[in-house]
Amino acid sequence: MDMRLNLPGLPDFGFKNPILTASGTFGYGVEFAPFGDLTALGGIVVKGLSLKPRPGNPMPRIAETPCGMLNAVGLQNSGVESFLKEKLPKLPWRELPVIANIYACDPGEFAELTSILAREQGIAAVEVNISCPNVKEGGILFGQDAAQAARVTEAVKRVAGDKPVIIKLSPNVTDIAAIAKAVEDAGADMISCINTLSGMGVDIRSRKPLLANVIGGLSGPAIKPVALRCVWQVCRAVTIPVIGIGGITSAEDVLEFMLVGAHAVQVGTANFIRPDFSFRLVQEFEQLVEKMGITDLEEFRGSLKL
């Protein structure tokens, strides 16, 4: 069966199946090549890239939580140029969309990153992580303010050329639909959501936080109900395609996100359950779709009965 979905507004772009891997959980893809065929995936979103190399946060950076995990890895990476030179050539980018996830601390830097990536044949699209503080304006996260989110979107779109721009939303907001609407109006081609929930853990014996950064991002099955709710609210607010993310660990989960309106999904933390997780999921998804007698994913998508 054809797993390809039309992406409204993006006639020249598509995923051969709706299962992508999420930024920060699949390295640069190459780490997982020993465990499966990368080209079987719907797409790969690489670890967040910044303009200059960044050391990320101090250790410890990760902790397990009930049905989830916390991370405060921060944006450790050797910079966009190093990625393009060292990592991208090793990826089968002719055969599957490689999406660059980018991170910056002001709209200008976002634009600079995007214009570098816009020139690259191997990059299929740019995903903008707006869960970062605007250092120039008091440190509130771009993703927590509709006007700021829109400004970043505009800045990126202006220089993205023909690369679709995906804005990745944070769930740590009062009204996610309002932010979605703002970035759509500002020209975003797609929305992906959700990024991690803001969370924390402590060790009562050492009396220290589990993460050196104190606060980190919660991900994994624990957050799936929040992610589904966000995706549903966003899908009702916008007409551009939405990529669902958050706690996906089964083929059923993929269909759940599609049922509330997602065009595709990204698998994050589940890649840590086993390194062949996403490869197996692609197969299980095809089997489930067949078993359930779904003949048209387009028809299934968004068909939730209220």
Partner: protein
């Protein structure tokens, strides 16, 4: 990297070693032999019993203790939720394993080689001692807090020279450190190798002594791990600048794929 695999293996047996206050806290977990082509002592595997529900998402890293034509043996200590559940594994249970992962210890058959083990850090040295072509060049010093019967000490001691040192009182530790100091100095003089595995404070001591004597020394690091394959960046350690060429980003290297074995002068153990 092509013999890295992710496979489900059956438990052959899970044998408790020694006892602590009437409890079994140490186990030799014997699994079916995976279809690996090769492996090196010091490498590790990620282990996730198939029966684990998603309340605990991560696999756990364990050094490869021994590999025979019939089995893969891990040796573990119960320290938290995951290892507590692993203690309940029985023959016939399924366990998901991926590996061998990371870099093993250097093997220089003709160099005098000192093995320094702290507690459960003894595990990789079982395979090291048994696969070494010239075991008479090896010497081990083993510091431990639990009864010696808790550890796979015998199976090393039958192959190579060495001593075990029980640490009960603070003086015991002081004496053990003095001994390591002498041994490291001796090996440095002969341009030998020093290999260490154990808890981080132990590794810091060894590192300090090795740098003092300019000994060629490798340390096997332990950090929390989620993926084991270099993707999550959760397991990093600070490293020296000369490692950057190696594809290491911004002063920090993943312990899982750039380690767990590092040259002592290349890592900075100040964090975590």
């Amino acid at each position: 990297m092509n013999n890295e695999q992710c496979t489900t293996l059956k438990v052959l047996d899970n044998v408790p070693f020694g006892q602590v206050a009437g409890e079994n806290l140490f186990f030799a977990l014997r699994l079916e032999r995976p279809e690996w082509k090769n492996w090196q002592p010091g490498q590790f595997v990620m282990v996730r019993p198939s029966g684990w529900a998603f309340d605990m998402l991560w696999a756990r890293p364990f050094s490869i203790c021994r590999v025979s034509p019939r089995d893969l043996v891990l040796f573990f200590q119960v320290v938290g939720r995951g290892t507590r559940r692993m203690a309940e594994l029985k023959s016939g249970d399924d366990v998901l394993v991926w590996g061998p992962l990371g870099n093993g210890f250097a093997v220089e058959p003709d160099s005098p080689t000192l093995l320094l083990a702290g507690g459960i850090g003894i595990a990789p040295f079982v395979g090291y001692a048994h696969s070494h072509p010239k075991p008479w060049n090896l010497h081990m010093e083993f510091g431990h807090r639990m009864p010696l019967s808790c550890y796979p000490y015998e199976s090393i001691n039958e192959k190579i020279m060495g001593d075990a040192h029980l640490e009960e009182k603070p003086e015991d530790l002081t004496r053990f450190i003095e001994l390591m100091d002498r041994r490291i100095a001796e090996h440095a003089e002969q341009n030998g190798l020093v290999l260490a595995c154990g808890p981080t404070p132990f590794l810091k001591t060894v590192q300090h002594l090795a740098l003092k004597h300019s000994a060629r020394c490798q340390l096997s690091l332990e950090t929390r791990m989620a993926c084991g394959v270099g993707a999550c960046l959760g397991c990093v350690t600070k490293v020296a600048d000369d490692m950057h060429a190696n594809g290491v980003a911004a002063g920090r290297a993943q312990v899982c794929n750039h380690g767990p074995v590092f040259w002592a002068h290349q890592v900075n153990l100040s964090e975590g």
